[in-house]
Amino acid sequence: MSVYLDWAATALPDRDVLLASVDAALSGYANPSSVHQDGKVAALLLSGARDKCARALGVRSETLIFTSGGTESNHLPMLALLQRPVRGTIAVSAIEHPAILEQAKMLECAGWKTLIIPVTKEGFVTSEAVLATMRDDTAYVAVMAVNNETGAIQPIREIAADLLARCAGKKKPHFHVDAVQAAGKVTLDLSIPGLDSASISAHKLRGPRGIGLLYLSHRIEPFIRGGGQESGFRPGTENLAGAFALSQCLEISARMNLEPQARELMKQVIQSLKSINGISLIPESRTDEDPRFSPYIAQFTNKGIPGEVLVRALSDLEIFISTGSACSSKKKNRPVLQAMNVPPALQQNAFRISIGSETTMEEIEILSNALRSLVSGL
């Protein structure tokens, strides 16, 4: 039996949710835009899914747009900038996911300039840093809700409020929050004033890949044009099965509230791994039950073995983890850890443990025993 501790890359799929979504795909086979009876059935299923997502997230249904996943949800508000007559600057935090940082480079090709918001050595983006980085021509600010490598929860509420205050009377920059690692996992209030958009992905919530959500607090000019689906903001025939599955996932997460259980498990992870000679946490100041971090993600490092080697050695023992962001695991550099000023040797030896609702104490014990012998043996 394998031990899966790479939930932040992709959560273990929920079999019931996937099977129910197949039923939804079959009963809602018709195009939701079609006016005949079966089309109406599909449209009804789709709006039902949207309402369910809205209830789980505590927002209005009209603010939710189904997309193909986190990356697209992150891109759409950025692409909308291209329609502005005047180019300016965008400010993104140094620890954003490549879906934002790489797309920022695309915007640079179109005449926009990127400003990087620095982070503290613990991996937090402070409201002061955001305001200090911004310029008068800053049209877009992105700060993620939970960092995918360290689990650091960012002060989104404070940043949103300070952005509003600073720009009182003037046009406020669009504030986007990558909530992919936060939604359904940690307390997340999308309806706070000053937050303009947020991204969510189903496969981080035990749903299928290829479906996500973009929360848009108010309408912005769409970049992609087509058949007018998703209020005209994201044209293309809707992924009904995916939307249905995502709504189930969000509903389950909201109903179950697994955060306390996760906190207990993560406490165990941190305690048992820290007790191994040579292994330490990133950042080191993180405590066993640190409320500043997501209880689902922790980044560790060790004195002797490159993270990549450790991942392979654990994989031989059927224990599955990643070094950091699964999306960039083929690259060797660690920009998030670099932004936190982690020494290069510790960056190279870093690895991530991410847990989920099915993780057990037993699995954590298997992991820590394996790490104990690997770190001393390799």
Binding site: G304, I305, P306, E308, V309, L310, R312, A313, S315, D316, K330, K332, L378
Partner: protein, 393 residues
Amino acid sequence: MDTAIYLVKIGELTLKGGNLKEFEQRLVQNVQLLLEGYHARVQLRAGRMTVEGPVESAESIEYALDHMIGITGWARATVVSKDTAEMQQAVLTEAIKARDSGKKTFKVEARRSDKSFPLNSYEIARLMGEIVYDQGILKVDVHHPDILITAEVRERCYIYGPETTGHRGLPCGTGGKALLLLSGGIDSPVAGYRMIRRGMKIDCLYFHSHPYTSPEAQQKVEDLAKTLAVYGIGTHINIVSFTAVQQRIRDSSPPDYATLLLRICMMKVANMMCKSAGSQAIITGESLGQVASQTIENMTVTNSWAEYPVLRPLVGLDKEEIIITAKKIGTYDISILPYEDCCVLFSPKHPVLKADPELTKEIYEKMNIDTLLDESFAAREHKRFGWKDARQK
């Protein structure tokens, strides 16, 4: 059934004396092997090879000739009877093809090995050129023509346009058998190719250190072996795990000697492999001074541990020269994939540059590593790649 006919030049082979037949036979055999299943007929007569096969096999025949060692060039020819009108017609067709692909000037060359043919080479060339010129298809340029059209009068008459350059060298299998130390880098596949071109049949030996190195690194080396398999008419790759060996070196020797000791251990295993497979030499991709382990002093030390001649075909080449060949033979793009085949953990910051042979021996013996090497060798993995593996890769 339409037939595609290729005329192949064999170059260097013609310099051979008494054993010419043996070389020719091997070349024919190699071409036949690469074309197994394609219904091709291979013949070698009077210094010229012809390959004939159904047009459906044309692509495979061209692939085989493109990768064949021991030929200097080849061209797809039109075969006509020894009738000047028919010959002119074929030349005209070649000229029109050339004009349509943007060529402006031409020259006709003729060869006549059938001396009973009434016209001599000069007269044939003139007659063939005349019709292209008269019809105003291309202009004549005898010094720097855009296209050279050749008419060869042999047992039949062959007309052909531009030639594709071959790999030259001697047919694989005429120069003995050697073991190539293959890594994922740029150099070693080129070294292997160069020795295949001198007629050698090669097997490969690769060392991995999982989990320190990734499965992708090994896949890369296997892909390189597959690429070499086409030129070498198949190859065997032997994969030896060196994790325990590297750990032993790290734990029981001075760090600055680690790289050199690793090379020595590789040589020792290469000795075992040569003995087991009947190889007569060891090939490495070393180039003098390229890295610390490739100084003359260090090469002398590693050399002293080899029980077989160590061939270093790249020893006097610089990186740029090696890269040119790597690109030509299709290994460069595989070699530059970002999967390293040795872990930084085992590479010393300041490796010894001028190792002392006696001291090295002393350190080596202290490690007590021979049993470990025997075990690693015994646990090796073996794979065979045919030439088709590369085409399907």
